[in-house]
Symmetry: D2
């Protein structure tokens, strides 16, 4: 069994083969029996929705939070231009890749530490908390120092060492679903983080692998809705990666919000056609502004806000 | 090559190995070269969106059309109760299965001809055009006589004999995408119908087969949006079958409308728990009314209407 | 409930909601309760493997049966050349498509009745029983008169009207698995045929739809093996369609035989590069002969024969 | 561009946007232009098959190499019993998991360092080189010291930091395909390792995610064959994980060998029903011996050996 503190409570978790009643400790407020492959991430245990705070941004409340920014950090100027524009349009978080998991080793691999520092400076200047992806357990010191919300990418969605590491860091985590993972596996990945005592997890649906070829991945809106019924954690949707091309991003973003997403993660670039990665799917600054206005109209009809 | 009349125009279609210029005929208004696996269903040829009329109901215009009714026609009373309620709530079409394609031969196989006639009587009484599924080319006379819109189900999505037959009948067709078919194959299935001179086709996304198990099928919102960019035909979404359970239907329906669906096909039953098929996913009459109100709010935010 | 004669026995089948004990009839030899979505196709009921006889060819016994021939019947000469060569190499059945289910209406649609008659004449001349695909219930008279084994293609794998029709014809059926169907759905499709009293069904795995793109479909060897553990019916593999290109056909055919396939269905053409369909995946006559010799060596190692 | 030594040659690799001709260096024997997402792993560049040596075991030659052992190292006795039995039956490598990537954090997580050391001691005692999985870049020292062949598991198949790390270690790598990865992505993962100058990579197919549920994963024999046509690297198949249950393992193993696999990775346990992980799919010692004998017969028919 394990004793941990989560959401301000002291818990004891009894493993499937243990009897929770035999564990006694005065400081324990909740006793939880692990009766399925995950429990901390489920709403069997915690009924009320969790709100994850990234600095002053609340994810999981009434507002739909938009994180926007370039696929990859390419230069301070590029990030600054983008950050100012997305903030003005209505984004609450700045995203950008510094360590980039690229399918081919010959693709642009990102600026690494330098990219993280650029994001930090721009985030501070513009006034947006930053979210960026970690790829290696050995990089945790720099993420601890500089980053507000740590992203686990789809390709590391079952990198359990990395999940434990970000669990221990305690910072808010944006956990993408693996392109070959079921909803249940996604929740179990979150469980790895929660089990380290870090409850600040936002789940992010970004498309799964299917036979369909007119889109890059298949955004699984149904899986996202099913997950919402199973967990207390907030849910984000990334419409950019499944779209694979700009023309589809608006519709997928609107669909995700209508289905109940608490957050959107959108790729925006000042000059997408010159981007060093994902050139086809990044929105222009203008198109992003139009999208935020459409989302704002939609959320009002749904009784929410941006 | 083939000469046909479609959308009020006389066309000549030149096969890939033919030169359209060599075909001369004074009555021909448009010459179309088949340069990809489908052309009549694409918006390369016909730019303006097609509106399909089912009696006085326009599909593909500004209004989002809702077709609702039971999975299977079980009795006249069941259909009448449902029809009155869904009409009052805002549905424009009455759906119901008479010939039922059931995976197991031991499942309820539908009332057949008698089911079609019940639908017809109820549709006339309540004032809703009816849509129901055809499974066999030999049944075309009864569909010609009684049915307003003929549905091709997912399991017959590449039953090319049946596609040609409904093409020749000339009535409006609701063409479901096969659970194992790409968007491109779906459009080619529509092409079979159009090539018989029947342009009254509405495409219906109803979920594809993927590895995900928390939903019955994966509603491919991205594929639906991709299709909209490729075709002039209206697009419908069926949120009931991919959901597989009631709790997911509202969110999937809202997502589909937000993504641009022109029509929804929703299963509704007065007492879903007693239904002879799809008991898990049919909405109650009350839940359907709530859903229509939510859709109405959403469409207004999008500049459309129900 | 239903009373039927199958494999020389009089059966009574009790539906899930019926008590088989209450049904009494002196002529009934076996009482079967339908406790899962299929029973007649399962080996819960019939333990010993079924042998399907197509004229003098036994499918499901110790010999691995090879059916070979062109994707499509194009001319009598083409079929005759192929038939002579495949028979000499070791094939026991002649395959060829007359009615062709083509994804695009602009692809070669087959010779229809005339194609069936060509196959019949060539089969008789060369001394090979013939197998060809039916697409429409209305074509059953010509299949009854001319064809030895009727194929249900992947696109009609859940065309239940057609399954019932070939069930009533009583002739041997080669039932392909649909590209989007589970093994359990495939067995239920067979159940539709058996329930009409026709037990002469061979199941054919031909590849399923997955995200992988280096092959046309994913030959599901595991699903084929799982099916063998669930049914008494013989199992065939079609290596040509999942391969999608000639270079892969030999290896897939050998894999299927090693995994326990009772039959192979292979596309062979005298001049594949000039074929009117599936030009990429048909074997040359020479390559087919090499393959049969490789299969012969393999079957001996497995204690079987060709 | 990058200069590296691989397979005993000095290479220069020119990135897609570079002209290889402008790079001059007397020590360079081969100039390679990166014209697709991978080149070092492809047989465009290196025609002859690569043989990977793990101590005295040759993978990729005429013999089919069998690696066998328990899913997880549980105790020295368990591993020793298994190792002796699998060696006697014909295995050439000992496998066993010490660091275990488990979907649920509540499943047995492996013995870690201690497990690696047990494997080492048993391997030395019995005389079998050992293969075990790495999960974290921080563990590379222990793998460098103790392990003969390092496995990258399916869940880390696109953990690019880990791929680079094992590339730098220089030891033989068994690289599993991710359950959601295409063949092309798998080859690009290998490229990450080769690009660090480590050419000792064996590719391992272990099943992909599809809609089929009668097996745990779908063993993609076609993808394996397609890969063999694209690469010079040896290919391994893991029949245990896609099977998910013992009864299917023999047939899948035989199919993989018939299709051309150079190596098999098989889970074997002295008492599978008591195993701490994958209890359903591990073979007993007796069943493994039967399987090796069947494989031996098969390989002889194919002109190979075990």
């Amino acid at each position: 069994y394990k004793v941990l503190s989560l959401y301000g409570k002291n818990l004891v978790l009894a493993w499937p083969d243990q009897n929770v009643k035999s564990i006694s400790d005065d400081s324990i407020e909740i006793k939880v029996e692990v009766k399925k492959p995950y429990i901390l991430a489920s709403n069997d245990w915690k009924k009320q929705p969790t709100i994850v705070n990234v600095k002053d941004v609340e994810i999981g409340g009434n507002k739909v939070v938009i994180a926007a920014g370039p696929c990859a950090v390419e230069s301070e100027e590029q990030v600054l231009t983008t950050a100012k524009a997305v903030k003005r349009a209505g984004a609450s978080l700045l995203r950008g890749g510094a360590y980039k998991p690229r399918t081919s080793p010959y693709s642009f691999q990102g600026l690494g530490d330098e990219g993280v520092k650029i994001l930090r400076r721009v985030g501070d200047e513009v006034g947006l908390p930053i979210v960026t992806e970690i790829m290696d357990t050995r990089d945790s010191p720099i993420f601890k120092q500089y980053v507000d919300m740590i992203q686990i990418g789809a390709r590391n969605a079952q990198n359990f060492s990395l999940l434990k590491e970000v669990g221990q860091l305690g910072k808010p985590v944006l956990l993408k679903r693996g392109m070959g993972n079921t909803v249940e596996e996604w929740l179990q990945a979150a469980e790895y983080i929660l089990l380290e005592g870090n409850g600040n997890v936002v789940l992010c649906e970004r498309g799964i692998r299917t036979f369909e070829r007119s889109t890059r991945f298949t955004l699984d809106i149904g899986g996202m809705v099913a997950a919402k019924l199973m967990t207390h954690l907030p849910i984000c949707a990334d419409p950019s990666h499944p779209a694979g091309r700009r023309e589809l991003v608006h519709s997928l973003a609107l669909a995700a919000v209508a289905a109940g997403a608490d957050m959107l993660l959108i790729e925006v670039h000042p000059t997408p056609e010159k981007a060093l990665s994902d050139a086809e799917q990044q929105l222009t600054l203008e198109s992003f502004e139009v999208l935020v206005n459409r989302i704002r109209d939609l959320t009002r009809a749904l009784g929410r806000d941006v």
